[in-house]
């Protein structure tokens, strides 16, 4: 098990739990939760620098880019154009070529606009970025994104922040059969068992934010998620027993008294 690390586009990831940095009380809590989660991938948003109040601290003063892999995202973008612009700016900041591409199609569900995501992904791949697209749990979409050069795909488990867990495990399974690149479940995880289930299905990693940041005790939930992902991964590799309708005795019949 010592070398079970995930590799995407030649980058080795030490954890299969990836976490977001939004919705925390403050940067100190963000840092503590990330430490407790054991994640080495941290996704961040790209936003305007506050010009008026320069006393505001920088997230990267708390999350050391030398210690963590920073995964900038295009969160909040509703068009391919906006997402491309945001991703290019993120790359220009000079920390990483990785980008979590997210183009939202609808304010209410926050479901991805897959068509715009594909359009933006094509441009960004050509620009040399390592594009990890957030997408619907749609195997056809996954294939299209891989065909244009995405080195992994990130289907949602359920709507962002919903905490509903994996709504359609069969689609996730079909995605894994359809593409040969790593599959990272992104969005919708609610608790540790949801993360474990994603890993038991054979997903390569889980990305989540609200499930930790929105928990009553975020740091404790971060630790729970760490073990959920580890347990799910180990169970997947161990190979579970098949499901059967009837019982199978687990003790030998032979040698019972009175026989």
């Amino acid at each position: 098990m010592s070398n079970d690390n995930l590799v995407i586009a030649g980058i080795e990831f030490k954890s299969r739990l990836w976490v977001g940095t939004g919705k925390y009380k403050d940067f100190a809590e963000t840092r503590k939760a990330i430490e407790a989660s054991g994640a080495d991938v941290v996704t961040v948003a790209v936003r305007r620098v506050n010009i008026i109040d320069k006393s505001k601290e920088n997230l990267l003063d708390y999350i050391d880019p030398k210690k963590y892999k920073i995964l900038p995202n295009t969160a909040g973008c509703f068009t391919a154009k906006e997402a491309i612009r945001t991703a290019m700016l993120a790359a220009e900041a000079g920390i990483t070529k990785l980008v979590k591409l997210e183009v939202i199609g609808d304010q209410k569900t926050l479901f991805p606009d897959n068509e715009a995501t594909l359009e933006a992904a094509k441009v960004l791949v050509k620009e040399g970025l390592i594009v990890l697209p957030y997408m619907s749990d749609d195997p056809i979409m996954a294939k299209k994104l891989v065909d244009i050069g995405c080195p992994a795909v990130m289907p949602l488990a359920a709507p962002i922040g919903s905490g509903l867990g994996i709504r359609n495990p069969y689609n996730i399974l079909i995605i894994m059969e359809t593409v040969t690149v790593p599959v990272v479940v992104d969005a919708g995880v609610g608790t540790a068992s949801d993360a474990a289930l994603a890993m038991e299905l054979g997903c390569d990693a889980v990305l989540l934010n609200t499930a930790i940041a929105g928990a009553q005790h975020p740091i404790a939930m971060a630790e729970a998620m760490k073990y959920g992902v580890l347990a799910g991964r180990l169970a997947y590799k161990a190979g579970r027993i098949p499901k059967k309708l009837y019982a199978t005795a687990s003790s030998p019949i032979e040698g019972m008294i009175g026989s």
């Binding site: 948003a45 010009i51 997230l59 220009e92 992104d186």
Partner: protein
């Protein structure tokens, strides 16, 4: 001269480059990215890119966020 900086009008010294602007604003330039009139300014060009009256500048950095972030939550960082 007047430029538009992150969507707001801002008075800055005339004859200033991007690096001059970042120094004027007291912003560390290692962790930011800059757009001038919707074109990215490469870091190597900060010192040679002179700003002009009416330019529109965007200076961005990394903030807390996972997936979609509501605009009201952005300012909380």
């Amino acid at each position: 001269m007047t430029i538009t900086l992150n969507g707001e009008k801002k008075e800055v010294p005339g004859d200033i480059t991007v690096i001059g602007l970042l120094e004027f604003l007291n912003i560390q330039h290692q962790r930011v990215a800059v757009e001038r009139n919707e074109m990215i300014v490469k870091k190597d060009h900060y010192g040679t890119t002179a700003l002009a009256e009416g330019d529109s500048l965007e200076i961005v950095s990394f903030m807390g966020g996972g997936s979609f972030v509501l605009s009201s939550e952005i300012s909380v960082t």
